[in-house]
Every structure is written in C-alpha cells, then in structure tokens.
Symmetry: C2
Subunit: 577 residues, 2 copies
Amino acid sequence: MMELFQFRKCILIKLVAISLLVSLIHVSTVEAKIRRYKWEAKYEYKSPDCYKKLVATINGKSPGPTIMAQQGDTVVVELKNSLMTENLAVHWHGIRQIGTPWSDGTEGVSQCPIMPGETFTYKFVVDRPGTYLYHAHYGMLRDAGLYGSIRVSLPDGKSEPFDYDYDRSIILNDWYHKSTHELATGLSSIPFSWVGEPQSLLIQGKGKFDCSQSLGASVCNASNPECSPYALTVIPGKTYRLRIGSLTSLSALSFQIEDHNMTVVEADGHYVEPFVVKNLFIYSGETYSVLIKADKDPSRNYWITTNVVSRSPNTTNGLAILNYYPNHPRRSPSTVPPTGPYWDNVSLRLTQSLSIKSRQGFIVTPPQTSDRMIVFLNTQNSINGYVRWSVNNVSFTHPHTPYLIAVKHNLTHEFDQTPPPDGYDFVNYDIYNIRNNPNATSSNGIYRLKFNTTVDVILQNAHSMNSTKSETHPWHLHGHDFWVLGYGEGKFDIYNDPKKYNLVNPIMKNTVPVHNYSWTALRFKADNPGVWAFHCHIESHFSMGMGVVFEEGIEKVGDLPSSIMGCGATKGGLPRP
Amino acid sequence: MMELFQFRKCILIKLVAISLLVSLIHVSTVEAKIRRYKWEAKYEYKSPDCYKKLVATINGKSPGPTIMAQQGDTVVVELKNSLMTENLAVHWHGIRQIGTPWSDGTEGVSQCPIMPGETFTYKFVVDRPGTYLYHAHYGMLRDAGLYGSIRVSLPDGKSEPFDYDYDRSIILNDWYHKSTHELATGLSSIPFSWVGEPQSLLIQGKGKFDCSQSLGASVCNASNPECSPYALTVIPGKTYRLRIGSLTSLSALSFQIEDHNMTVVEADGHYVEPFVVKNLFIYSGETYSVLIKADKDPSRNYWITTNVVSRSPNTTNGLAILNYYPNHPRRSPSTVPPTGPYWDNVSLRLTQSLSIKSRQGFIVTPPQTSDRMIVFLNTQNSINGYVRWSVNNVSFTHPHTPYLIAVKHNLTHEFDQTPPPDGYDFVNYDIYNIRNNPNATSSNGIYRLKFNTTVDVILQNAHSMNSTKSETHPWHLHGHDFWVLGYGEGKFDIYNDPKKYNLVNPIMKNTVPVHNYSWTALRFKADNPGVWAFHCHIESHFSMGMGVVFEEGIEKVGDLPSSIMGCGATKGGLPRP
C-alpha cells in the first residue's frame, strides 16, 4: 500500500515535471529559433521485444530522441556515425527541404553516405506544423532501429483548430530478429530467400516476443524491463493528441485503443476534416494525429493494440497500455485485447482512405488541371534471375554518384540518361493475373519535370509474381506534399476515372497507400528545386527496385555543400564534366 | 565397384587436368607479366562448418581465389565492393608494396575505405617468391570470411633449394557463429562483452560444428556438402609442398598430419634452414611451407588436424583428410585423429620459434647495430570504462583521414602530432601481475622513423587484466620484413639480452609471436617510403587498440592516387594544409 502510494507520488511528480519542461521549452522557443541536436548512431545490444539483438540506436535509444520544434525553426542535427563498418544517411520524412535539397538525407539521391567515424550536419527549416518522422535512408538500415519522431508545433500565440490537453508521440514498427544484413542478403540472392513475416510489432519501441520458443534467458527474457509494454499514462477527463507514425519495414497496420474512439485530425502534417474511428489503418511512412478523451472508467487500464492487415498475418499483435492515472502503468487490463478488423478486408481500408479530406478553412485547392500524367504500374518481376519490384517494368537501381550532384554538375555518365516510361501497356496488361514481365529491366534513369508544372501520378497496383495476391504499397514522395485526388479498385480508367477526382477538398499528404488490385491518383506541383525520390516505403520493396526519382528546377539549386560528396565521381572532389 | 572405378578415373583425369593447367600457366607467364583479377566482395549464406550464416565472400568463395604469380609480376586486382552497406579494404599480407604504399589496403593508414558499389584497383609488384595472404583490413571484416592465399613462384628456369612434386595452399582459420557486427559491438560496449572462444576451426574453409546442439537442419546440417572435410589428395611416393597460412581471428594453432613428419622449409616468404617437426605451431598472420612425403601405407587415408594452443581451448579440433590416391577422399581413417600438444606448453612453442633460422646460402645478414630501440609493452587496460589493449599504455585509435595522405600532405590536424613513447617504466612494471594501468590513454599518434635507419623493436608481453594469464600476440609489420633476433621468457633485460641476439642467421619474417610472459626482439631497416601499420594480428586485439603506426621517407613517396581519398579531410578532395 505504501509502495503504491510512493509510486503514485512518483508519477505525479513526473507529470508535473513534464508539464514544467513543456512550459520551459515553450518559453525558450521565443528567443531561440535554432534547435541543435548532437547525435551518435551506433549498434547496441537491446531487447525491444524481449529478444536480444543488435539495434541501431541514436544516443543509445531506439526510437531515437524526438525532435521538438516550432514552425519556422531551423533544426541542426550533427550526426556522428559510429556504426563501425557501415555507412549512414538520415532522412527527415515529411520535411520538404525547401532551399536545402542536400539535407534530405537520401543516400544516392541527395548525398554520399556518411562513413563511420564521420560527422555530418543536417540543417533545415521546419516550415509547417505537424507530425513527421526521421529514419535511416541507406540500404535497409532503417529496419535495424534507426528512427524517431519530429513534432513541429505552431508558433507561440497561434493555436490548432482543435482542443487537447496533452500531446504524445507514438511510433509503430514491425521487428525482425534477423539482422538487416541477413534480410538484405536473402533478397538479393539467387535463389531468392525471403525472411518471412516479422517476429513482433513494436509500439513506441516495445513489443513482446514469446520467449518460451527460444534459446534461453540470455537471448530471450520476458522479464527484461526493456520489453515491458509501453504505457501511455493519461489523467482522467483530459483530452490527448496522439501523434501516431508508422515506420514498419513491411506491415500495414490497424491501431486501436480498447473502448476509446479516436478522432482523426491530422494526416502527414495537414489538418483533416475530423472523423471518428474505432481503429486507425496506418501504412509505413504515414503519420496521423488522433484525439482521444480519457473519459472511461478510471479505475482500470485499457489495452492499446496494433495488428497486421493486408497480408495474412504471422506476427503477434502489438500491445501497449493506456494507463489511467493513478493505476499502476504495468497493470494489465483483465479484458481481452481488441484484435482489430480482419486482415483481408480491403473495403474497410479503402473507406478510411476515402474519408480523409482536407479540413474546412485549411483547404489548399489543387490546380484543376495537370500538365503531365504519369502512370506507374507496380509489378514484381524476375530480372536476370533476381526477384525485383518494378515500375512500368523498370526496376530502380541506385547510382554511385548522388543524383543531386550528378544532375547539378551535368555528370551525364553517372546515370542512365534515358528516362523511364510515363506509362505501360494499359490495354493489354491484366492486373489480376500473374505476369512474368519478361521484358523488365533495371535502370537508374530519372524523370525530369518541368519546373512549376503540375504533375499527376497514378499508382496502379497489380498481381504479384508467385502467389495469389496483390500487396499494399505505401508510396512516399520526398520534397513535396501531393493532393490525393482519388482511389479506386481495379485498373485505372484513363478516360473516366479522372472525372471522379476530388478537386474540392483533397487532403495533402507525403505518403499514400495503393491498395490491393487498386489505383491511387495524386497531383503535385513540381516547385521545389532539387532531386527527389518517390518510392514504396516498404524497406525491402524499395531496395528491390520499387521507386523512381524526379528532378525539377535543378538550375535554381544553390551551390552544393562539399559535405555531401566523396563517393562515386566525387570521390576525390568534383570532376570536370 | 563400378562406381569406385568411375571415381578413380575421375580423380585421375582431374590430376592430369591440374598438371596440364599448371604447365599452361607456366607457359603463359613468360609473356604475360601482369596478373589481372576481377573480384566482387559480397555477403552470401554459407555453411563452412555446417552452421549456416552470412559469410563475406570473393567471387562467391571463402577462402577467395588464390593469387598465382611469379616473382616480378605485377598483380592488378579490381575489387568491387558489393557488401551492401559496409565499406571494405583488402590488405596484401607479406607484400612489401615497395613504391606503392597506397596499395597496402589498410583502412585508415593507406587508404579511405571502399564504399559499397565502388570498385578499387590494387596494383602492386610481387617482388619475392613465397607464400603470402590477403584479407580484409577494415573493422573486423576479416573474421567474416574475406581472405585468401597468394602464391609467388620463382621465375621460369630458377628453382627452389628443395625438391617437391606438387604445391598446395591451405589456410587455417577459426570461426564464430555470431556476426562480426555482434563481435565488435560487444568489444566496444560498457560493460565489455566477450563473445568467447570460436565455434570451430576451419581447414581451407571447412570445419565441422556439432549440429546436434543446434536449432534444426535449416540452421545446422551436418550432411551439407559445403562442410564435408577438406581432402588433400596425394599420389603415393610423391613429395608435397604445403603452403600453410593462418588467419585465425584469435587462436594460436598446432597443425599436424597423422603419421607424417613435416620438414619446415619456408617462413613468411623466406627460406628456413630445414628442420623436421611432428606438429607445426602457427600464429595468425604467419605462413610456412612444409614438405611432406606420401610414403606411408597407401591403402588408407590419414587425418590432418589442427587444435588451439596458448588459450584454454573450448573449440573442437579442426579435421581434414590426407587422401592417398586412389582411396575415396571422403573415407575417414578409422584411427583416432592426432590431438596435438597440450595447449599450455609454452616451452614447446618457444622451442619452435627458436628453431627457425635463415637457410644457409640465403642468409641476409642484419645490420650489427641499430640506430633506435623501441620497447613495446603489451597490456590490457581500462580506459574510460572500456576494455582496451595498449602499447606502452597508449591504446591505438584509427584516424578519419588515412595517415599516408595526412602525413604526405602535412594535414597536421588529422592526427595527434605527439608520438607515443619509445618505452615504459622498465624498472617498476611487474609483467607477472595484474596491473590496472590507470594512466593508459588512447591516441592516434604515430612513430616517425628516420629514413634508412635501423630500428630495433622489443615486444614485451605481460599479464592481462582480469585473469591469471598472459596471452600470445602475433605481431605483423606492414611494408617490411624484419629479422627475428631473439625470444626470451620473462622481462626483457635491456643490458644483457641484446648480447644474446642471433646476428648470424636470423630468419626474416613479417609476423612473429610474442609468447606468454615473454619478449621477442626484431630489427628492421626503415627503407620503404610510406606509412605502415604494426599490430597484433588477433582481429579483436587490433580493433581494441593493440597496434602502432610507423612513418618513414614520406618525402620519397610519389603522388598519391585520388582513388585512396574521399574520407575525413579528403571527403571533397584534398584540402589545403
């Protein structure tokens, strides 16, 4: 009893301390508009789901530190790579990098990788409030645990168009016990070797693997405090803004809180016309803010759960605890955790996608026509015996010299100067059947966009190569937000579907799913000088070629910093073209 | 019976083919003096000891291809790094790189690491006949399997001072089931975490782990042909030159062939005054040629074995088969494999060390005096909470800019300009007791040697930090061979021990052990312009700081190729000093 009292006192002090800290941050912000971070990335042994393995951490943590800033601030991250023998680059997911395309952190596109022992300084302005992410963007290193949250608040004196008392960030992830080296080697081998479904789902870096299957307490220890479930402590009666991001390597997820509805208010940094859900579908690379009110029976805790959708799941559901203060945060509810919707129900997911509209009063009306339409057929292919993903039968390969440097300095030998096609054989391609696509090729060619033009992209999903399914692909665009004009099942009808576009209040996003056997239509302005990746955010899919690169307004890009060079044609500095 | 006949026929054809191939190589050599190799380094799943794990391979193999050349040839290796996210450098162990110090392949010393996707060309002359090695020299990547043999034969028309019919290369290695990332992370963690003794010993890339302990056939499969024992097929009556190299990550080894004596004739590329042994002690980084005669009962096969010495072994002995043609090479002898000498018998090992003298007629007499004497005390230390190895209480750390570039271009900020000390507190240091060495520090300072002077190095062993032992350390010098002037037990007596030096017929080597609680005395001429590492060849010991760097005649080094740049201060090309 005494212990419980002590514990409650401790939690109360913690809450007061957090509130104080939050106020302090707000006070300091008025003066200091530069947010400096010193980070060190390295491997450490961790047990995020009770299973001990090497985890890529930032300052000893995975997820890494949350970046907290206000709109208009400049964020400076001095990132030291201490990963021993591996290189690194970190992408600021959702930050458009206007005027700083060299800080996008995309290896092969915006910079050479950061070598072990080196420190690279990222410097960029967070120009819009909202919920963003950061993560490694080199090889499959993100899957090793190198990721975190970015929270950009409004300037002092301005307020959001919705009320809440507290703000919390939660990242969802899936987790493999094999190393990223093992994963990546299998994918690029003949015969192809697929690691299979993830071992667990992590909520804010914590999961629970069944240790009884395993090799002993030194490898898997269910009582390790590192894998005690994440507890989100709430004060009864208060409203919480949960900023939920997904950085799964593979899984599409449903997220739900027992007995608590969620009101969706933000998606990828844009205000959403509020709508209420029992569960939130979220795809890798997406962020949402939902409001929840702690208005249920305060004498108990509630389950927070996440489960795999869109693939036949073989991963235990993720569990966390919504902890009503002053209950003990480790006290598991006696109820059965909610299991979320059935994995194979595509129409439920399509319905949520269609529900997300721009909030009244915050609508950015899209251009009513576009200058160019590009249709991207997503397929799985066999190329020279390797299993690859392709877009219009072209599988993306990384160049040795980052595009930003190669394009800016006209190093035409550094990548294929033939752009990949704007479409595919619309008439004859059957998206519902296995096709081998024997003509698929690999290329590092890119799409050159005319500056300030409006571009439509149609993502067309199809059957995958060796099984009776089509997979969901969340596509993420660097350097831009796009308007989501529409979604539809089946094959995109180039004549009739555009007539159904939402040109009134489409949401703007940076990541969007293309559902099984479906299409998604996007529009964006090519108005950010630089070179930008657009790719499936499933780590293995991008590494297997499911991506493209856009260039626009390269002549307006300022002098490139020498810190991004040192690889490919820039190994000894800039060559003469 | 028919099958056996077929098999014998097949072996005979193979032997004839090999002989033909050997003659063809000899014929082609007369004209072609450049030996070109195109290599790709990548990870593959392999089961060298029946346990499946990622192995770093060259052209799909571990050990990689054997380099075969003749004295005076130029070897050109175009090495493509396809290790995904990891960098690479490959060292040509025993090749002095006269005139090409930038081809030494030592990351941080002679070059920036080769990034994934890049191809680096090594080009060097093999100026002496003999048995050499190559291996990764970046982080602990060598332990992942990236290594092989170099065999340099005499020019046509010249012959060795001993007779043999056939020539075979065998590399010995120890093998961990954990990844090098896991090994290295444990070593650089607080608390220190040591992976323990290796799981198996490999003979020419093959070992045998006990799969009954393991997780099932997908992980460990004793019937996998990849881990069938290495078979050395011999024709009865013939004499074989076995070129034996050790690239163990940790273990000192004894090597023996059941019922067959070995005559030692070469050590590290130098002819040895022949002596006969029943077992050969060999330390990581050493090579020996031994002659064996296939003069035993030809109706059976014989065991070849290797076992750990100098550390209390917890690794199963390595097994291979000496296969007397036409017996089946997989036919295990019914005898008990020889176990080798007791691991803790230091005097036997010291005796072998003392037996190795330069062969009459091939003696290179050392200078009778030296210009400088440096004594290196080898200790284990705690520095800022990390377990480190040190030399004279200074633990070596790698710089970000390779020394060769930094010294040549006078980039004085790139490493500590204070050289480490030439000695230690000779009088008060007790090598037989645990000493914490609280004053130990880390530094990347180097030793600058006056060009063409004669340098003596005394390696002094001591007690390690946390146990009742002193470990054997095989020290390897890049860019030179040294004369081995003497070995002795206990603390080196600076006044009396030099009087006992062998200045008449000392062997020249590039790698030499310093035995438990003992000293080893070396002499070399600082006559090879460049910057050269000298370090313990135990992979973990060097990565924990047990090494030094020598510079000599930097002003005589020609223009450095830009291909070695791209890291540290040379990220965007060469900076102004």
